[in-house]
């Protein structure tokens, strides 16, 4: 019987029929999705921190309003994704607990510091750019609630990347110090951004199953290559350089070749030893703990009002 269900499930997937919360699904499919969606949600939430750092120091009101709107969008993305994960049977509090206890992972990129205003440009262009590259195929992922959340996210992301590029473009047309600032930001964010696509295909054993279930549509390396190809062209408009001496167009492959990635650094950051891991988690925990009285007060108020309503009805 169980085997039969699994065959039927795979047939649905193959026919591009979306899986919905109450449909039968293999336990492993459910677990893989819970892990992937909640990690994705955590990344959106933690992702607010590096940029939040610059809201009060944005160079003008226009930039400040834009950055605020972008960070608010990221909060929204986290919320869409948490509720998509909840349809699989995990509670919101459990997910928070997993984040706060360090059990759950989030994207390694957010463990790097934001040192200058130009970092807001580099993050928008590269980090949101890499996120979009990952997220667009997820709009067609096999699990309905995840796909629908991603459609909403993708609609909102494109302004994030454009505002980032605009920041870099403005700096690149500025004075020498501003150009240097932009180049420095790109130098620091480039490699972490291309690491965002995750380990190389041959070191990413879950990919095969995830592709079969159509949770993922492209491999990490395919997406990374696409991203490099696009950025290698876009950087020309900025008249700046990508910090990779091996970056070179390969006529035969029809792609840009690029240098070796420092995977040791990637695994170190994932393991919690990045420059800001502790700071990021501490900030999340502090926000959660200091918000407790607000959550409690709202619950108490709601309970009181419900009682008052009952009395009126009676």
């Amino acid at each position: 019987m169980e085997k039969n269900l699994e065959v039927l499930f795979q047939e649905k997937i193959d026919k591009e029929i979306r899986i919905e919360p109450k449909d039968w699904m293999p336990e492993k499919y459910r677990q893989t999705l819970i892990r992937q969606i909640s990690q994705h949600a955590h990344s959106e939430i933690v992702g607010m921190l590096p940029e939040g750092n610059w809201i009060t120091r944005a160079p003008n009101l226009r930039r400040k309003a834009i950055l605020l709107a972008k960070v608010q969008d990221e909060a929204g993305h986290g919320l869409y994704l948490y509720s998509a994960a909840e349809t699989l049977g995990i509670s919101r509090d459990e997910m928070y607990e997993q984040l706060h206890s360090g059990k759950a992972k989030y994207s390694s990129i957010f463990n790097y510091p934001t040192l200058s205003w130009a970092d807001m440009g580099a993050i928008g262009w590269l980090v949101d750019g890499a996120a979009i590259m990952n997220q667009v195929p997820l709009c067609r992922t096999s699990y309905g609630p995840y796909a629908r959340a991603m459609v909403r996210v993708c609609k909102e992301e494109s302004f994030h990347q454009r505002q980032g590029f605009e920041i870099l473009l403005t700096l690149s047309r500025g004075n020498e110090a501003q150009r240097r600032m932009a180049q420095d930001a790109i130098n620091r964010w480039w490699w972490p951004s291309i690491m965002m696509f995750g380990p190389k295909d041959d070191e990413s054993p879950n990919t095969i199953q995830s592709m079969k279930w159509k949770i993922k549509r492209f491999t990490n390396d395919e997406l990374r290559q696409k991203f490099v190809d696009i950025c290698a062209e876009q950087i020309k408009i900025l008249n700046l350089t990508i910090p990779d001496p091996d970056l070179k167009w390969n006529e035969e492959r029809g792609h840009y070749d690029f240098g070796a990635i420092n995977w040791d650094e990637f695994w170190q950051v994932i393991a919690g030893n990045g420059p800001c891991n502790k700071q990021r988690l501490d900030a999340r925990k502090k926000a959660w703990e200091e918000g407790k009285w607000v959550r409690d007060a709202a619950s108490a108020y709601a309970a009181k009002r419900a009682v008052r309503k009952e009395v009126k009805v009676a």
């Binding site: 459910r30 969008d73 929204g76 049977g89 919101r92 909403r152 409690d296 108020y301």
Partner: protein, 122 residues
């Protein structure tokens, strides 16, 4: 009828040393604000459509949160919220039997009727 939101506790969430099961028994979800389903009318004349869900302490807060989470770009002019526990749904395992009565009634569709081509405005 199945409950819309089921709970599953996992022992092997992966990544960390411990499973997640110890967390779910900590009682934290008892304090969790209830879950609400959000429906939005994007413009006058259209139906409210389900857009997602969120947590809020009460209906008023659910509407305010829905505004911030689901209508940051003028996506709606009217919001409905309903606590998720009040949603009852058909069972997908019984879909075949449930919709079976409609399957053999092709005559409910206009294309069932074979009429001369000269006949117009019908």
């Amino acid at each position: 009828m199945k409950q819309y939101i089921k709970k599953y506790y996992y022992g092997d969430y992966g990544e960390g040393k411990n499973g997640a099961a110890d967390i779910s028994t900590s009682g934290s979800s008892k304090q969790e604000w209830p879950l609400w389903e959000v429906f939005i009318r994007s413009k006058q004349g259209l139906d409210h459509k389900h857009v997602g869900s969120l947590h809020a302490a009460d209906a008023q807060m659910a509407i305010e949160n829905a505004r911030d989470v689901y209508t940051r770009r003028n996506e709606g002019i009217s919001i409905w919220v309903v606590e998720s526990k009040y949603i009852h749904a058909s069972n997908p395992d019984e879909a075949e039997a449930l919709y079976d009565p409609a399957n053999d009634k092709a005559y409910r569709h206009p294309t069932f009727y074979d009429l001369p081509d000269e006949l117009t405005h019908i």
